[in-house]
Symmetry: C2
Subunit: 209 residues, 2 copies
């Protein structure tokens, strides 16, 4: 699966990395990935949650979703991007974004092993909310039966990042144009308890940080 | 181009909308889209900036980028997603995300009209930073020549959203499990001036909000 040509970096190869630690860190921070697959010649890109376990990613969905079927019958591309900043250069041309992204090429495999399926679903809950998976009612046999779990190998993955200040052409400095970076962050707000929560059920420790 | 089958909503059709105002609002808020296209049978999904002008989206890139060539020679899918909340249900199965997403199917067309190209590039700068396009050195003839501008018709677009509290099965209420919503927001931080900024160049008004 490690098709070097597929992950050959195009523009700005100096921004790229095939180093696993860099790839894993970006995947672990992002909450949502965008998965693309071709359905009868038409690419379809949908956002979904996911989780990484070692050298694999897991995604899940309903067994009756057309999407799940498409993903196991053709090559896919799974992309994660984290926006870090808007970079305002002196020229419109040199405006850019600071970001960290990962692109994974591969083929999704349906996970059939019961233990691997449970662990993958737990990992997806943990990925969006660390500490949560042991504080929720676990999936029933019926729920597990209604859920497809897909595994994607990270062998053909690459990371690409841009960081730092704007880079302008020499002739654009000294013109009195403001330039700099506007940081962008994804933040979690104060948890909002469900209106039907029973009295006395306090905020769990893992949400109290 | 308005292929109704392509934008037929699959799972949870009650979360979908073909209403243009809803689609435009989501597109205008998101800073990054993910564009998927098939390259020799392999889907490739990459994040990029964009802008909407009326019923079209514009994206841009280097004329020498392989990516730009691929986008004009095959159908594409352009997807935008905004994450609004992590939804913690009483059961692992009913955990979900609140989000707003738009999926656009279409074919990118290379824009050749000089005025439309300029306006599209301005719109992309304005999209990430309103007010900025008139306060930066505009593109030179050489820079314009090095830039591909692509237009994508919004005729085949649909929006999908999930909002509100967790929805649990009747038997899961009353078990003392905390449930609720963790809001997620994308926020812009304090602008960081470039180290090479001349003395006396203050923060522009459009960044002072």
């Amino acid at each position: 699966m490690a098709d070097r040509d597929l992950v050959r970096l195009g523009r700005f190869p100096e921004r790229g990395s095939h180093e696993f630690a860099a790839i894993a860190a970006i995947l672990d921070e992002a909450l949502v990935c965008h998965v693309g697959v071709s359905v009868r010649g038409q690419p379809v890109v949908l956002p979904t949650t996911f989780a990484r376990r070692d050298r694999h990613l897991y995604i899940h969905g309903s067994t009756v979703a057309r999407w799940m079927g498409a993903l196991t019958s053709a090559p896919l591309c799974l992309t994660v991007s984290i926006l870090d900043a808007i970079v305002l250069a002196r020229s419109a041309y040199n405006h850019t974004l600071n970001y960290r992204s990962v692109v994974v090429f591969g083929q999704a495999e349906r996970v059939t092993d019961a233990q691997e399926r449970r662990r993958a679903l737990e990992a997806i809950v943990e990925h969006v909310c660390p500490g949560r998976s042991s504080d929720t009612r676990p999936p029933s046999a019926k729920e597990l039966k209604a859920t497809s779990v897909l595994r994607i190998d990270l062998a053909t993955a690459s990371a690409k990042t841009r960081e730092g200040p704007p880079v302008d052409f020499d002739e654009d400095y000294g013109k009195g144009i403001w330039a700099g970076v506007i940081p962008v962050r994804t933040v979690r707000g104060t948890p909002i308890p469900d209106a039907r929560l029973e009295a006395g059920v306090g905020l769990p420790y893992y949400l109290g940080r």
